[in-house]
């Protein structure tokens, strides 16, 4: 009986290990297919021409596969949205974890979570039909669908990410530090600024990076709101065409394993590398944070 039992236990263990590897297997598969389908484009263009080329005319004859405008667009919308979402997200996190009463926090937190749950297509739709015309009128700009509008919508998508991770980080700062500071005659604000936020800084950085990672990979919003012009923007009210938008709008027309198809997968590689870099950095920070946490015991 003991032998049988041991065997079942072993079998179950291996079964679970097997399934857990499936999860990783998916990531490996994703990478495999991205590279497998994307790399052939470099038979046509060099990596340099691809990444640094200024013109994206994939269906012209002869075609141009330069994605610099797309990369720049992605970076700009991400940075601009970060400038909105970081203060908003972090300050909301501070409010939730340090200032709000339990009752208020119990209302605000679900609001933030619901904001996170809004489908991106709805936010894109909102930006397109309401925010765009509004921006046009208020700023007297010719085009409502532009870098700024897209950044604004992206900011609303990344605020919840930033806020909830940052809040976790602040919340996990031990109460003993709060009390120590207050007991020395510091005000709540001083305690927050000088003790709580520095102590939660690595968690907050993780939050910010993950928020930006979410923004750079977001598709529907930039597809519907950014304007779709594959050019280097000259102002924040210029239309742009970030990488995910290009993939989403052109994939359906690119014949299987044609140049255009390979080029779009290659954009996928670039996008994937960006988000992976963001995630690795976030993981590094989180890791270091954990170690210093242990050291303090």
């Amino acid at each position: 009986m003991a032998v049988l039992r041991n065997r079942t236990e072993k079998a179950i263990h291996w079964l679970f290990l097997g399934i857990a590897t499936v999860s990783i297997g998916i990531l490996v598969l994703i990478m495999f297919f991205l590279f497998h389908e994307g790399l052939p484009i470099f038979k046509t263009v060099t990596v340099q021409e691809f990444v640094l080329g200024h013109y994206w005319y994939p269906t012209d004859d002869p075609s141009d596969f330069g994605i610099l405008p797309l990369i720049v667009a992605s970076l700009f919308v991400t940075l601009l949205s970060a400038m909105i979402s970081i203060p908003l997200g972090v300050m909301t996190a501070v409010y939730l974890s340090e200032i709000a009463s339990r009752k208020v926090a119990e209302i605000v937190k679900p609001v933030v979570e619901l904001l996170a749950a809004l489908p991106s297509v709805v936010i894109g739709f909102f930006g397109m039909v309401l925010v765009g015309p509004f921006l046009q009128k208020t700023f007297g700009i010719p085009i409502g669908l532009n870098l700024f509008n897209a950044s604004l919508m992206l900011a609303f998508m990344s605020v919840p990410t930033i806020c909830s991770i940052a809040e976790d980080a602040l919340y996990s700062v031990p109460d003993s530090l709060r009390e120590a500071s207050l007991a020395l005659g510091a005000t709540e604000l001083e305690t927050i600024v000088k003790v709580i936020v520095p102590a939660g800084l690595s968690g907050i950085s993780t939050a910010i990076i993950l928020g930006m990672s979410r923004a750079i990979g977001e598709t529907m919003v930039v597809l519907m709101v950014a304007g779709g012009a594959a050019m280097l923007p000259g102002s924040i009210f210029d239309p742009v065409r970030p990488m995910p938008a290009s993939i989403a709008s052109e994939m359906a027309e690119a014949p299987f394993r044609g140049e255009h198809y390979h080029a779009l997968f290659a954009i996928g590689i670039v996008l994937f590398l960006f988000t992976m870099a963001f995630n690795l950095v976030a993981d590094q920070i989180a890791q270091r944070y954990r170690q210093s946490g242990e050291a303090s015991l």
Binding site: T92, P119, M251, F272, N279, D283
Partner: protein, 308 residues
């Protein structure tokens, strides 16, 4: 007896030598605090304002479109009239299919990570892999689904391919939620069970999973709602513009609510005319997704209260 007021607590009175700035300091510090707390509160308010604004517009402009016909009929007249029934069915099919794929794999993976795996380099890599999987942009999932499910596995544009793609995308959500649920089961339960001569699997099956179940369910609901709202992964793998009948097999193409909003708003034949339909569809999608989230949130907060 006199009150211990500002003055009586001032430095002269308290015996502290002249190193502290006199009384003046504190008023300024308080004012600073009030100002900044105002900003913090304002930031939080903006979130509520944003959500309120979006909901308000979608509701005020969409509710007229909602009718029994809208919810139960396919689109008619070049999609300028009729309903969105096939989209609702398609979205439900995709989301349920996705969760049917992701839930068993996700829960089993989380059980392995939390209950079996010992920490070490390999574990670290697996974890890193999963956190990276969570960070992969949805459009890249779409590319993967197109290349792998639709073309290599020959599923074509179909409910099955879409559900699998969404399932892969939902996986990290499920793993995360399940791990959290498993972590919240106190270790003493595990030790008590093992101490009574239960095997590891018996412990997991009889003690750990029942305690973690509500948390796992919450995660599953959130996973479904996430899958239901995604557009980019199904654009190339499952969704089409118009197919009025209910899919008869999982190899059929489907309509889906998020994609329907997108095409009506950007690629329809008469965008302006169909605005009410767009708002209506958006409202239905929001109701579906936020409804599920609300259920999950309420359920979870009840759970947390019970745990205390």
């Amino acid at each position: 007896m006199k009150d211990l007021s500002e003055e009586s607590l001032s430095d002269e009175n308290g015996g502290i030598k002249g190193i502290f700035e006199k009384g003046a300091g504190l008023g300024g510090r308080r004012r600073m605090q009030a100002l900044w707390f105002g900003f913090f509160r304002g930031a939080a308010l903006i979130n509520g304002f944003a959500l309120g604004l979006i909901l308000f517009f979608m509701f005020s402009r969409g509710w007229q479109a909602i009718s029994w016909e809208f919810l139960t009929q396919p689109p008619r007249d070049s999609m300028t009239a009729g309903g969105i029934f096939p989209c609702i069915i398609g979205t439900l099919g995709l989301a349920l299919g996705a969760i049917a794929v992701a839930l068993p794999i996700g829960v089993a993976s989380a059980i392995y990570l939390n209950e079996y795996a010992s920490s070490g380099k390999i574990m670290r890599i697996i974890r890193l892999g999963i956190s990276n999987l969570a960070g992969v942009p949805s459009v890249v999932f779409g590319l993967f689904g197109l290349a792998f499910f639709c073309i290599i596995l020959g599923m074509g544009v179909s409910l099955a391919a879409g559900a699998l793609t969404l399932g892969a995308m939902t996986l990290p959500v499920i793993i995360g939620a399940t791990e959290e649920a498993l972590k919240s089961v106190p270790d003493t339960y595990r030790e008590a069970s093992l101490g009574l001569g239960a095997t590891r699997w018996q412990t997991i099956w009889r003690v750990v999973l029942p305690s973690a179940l509500p948390g796992i369910l919450t995660g599953a609901i959130l996973g479904i709602s996430r899958a239901a709202g995604e557009t980019a992964p199904i654009m190339f793998t499952a969704a089409v513009f118009f197919t009025p009948k209910i899919p008869s097999s999982i190899m059929d193409e489907v309509m889906a609510l998020p994609y329907h909003i997108y095409v009506l708003a950007t690629a329809g034949t008469s965008i302006e005319q169909t605005r009410p339909l767009q708002y209506g569809t958006a409202l239905v999608l929001i109701a579906l997704v936020l409804g599920m989230n609300l259920v999950a949130i309420i359920y979870r907060s009840k759970l947390r209260k019970k745990m205390r």
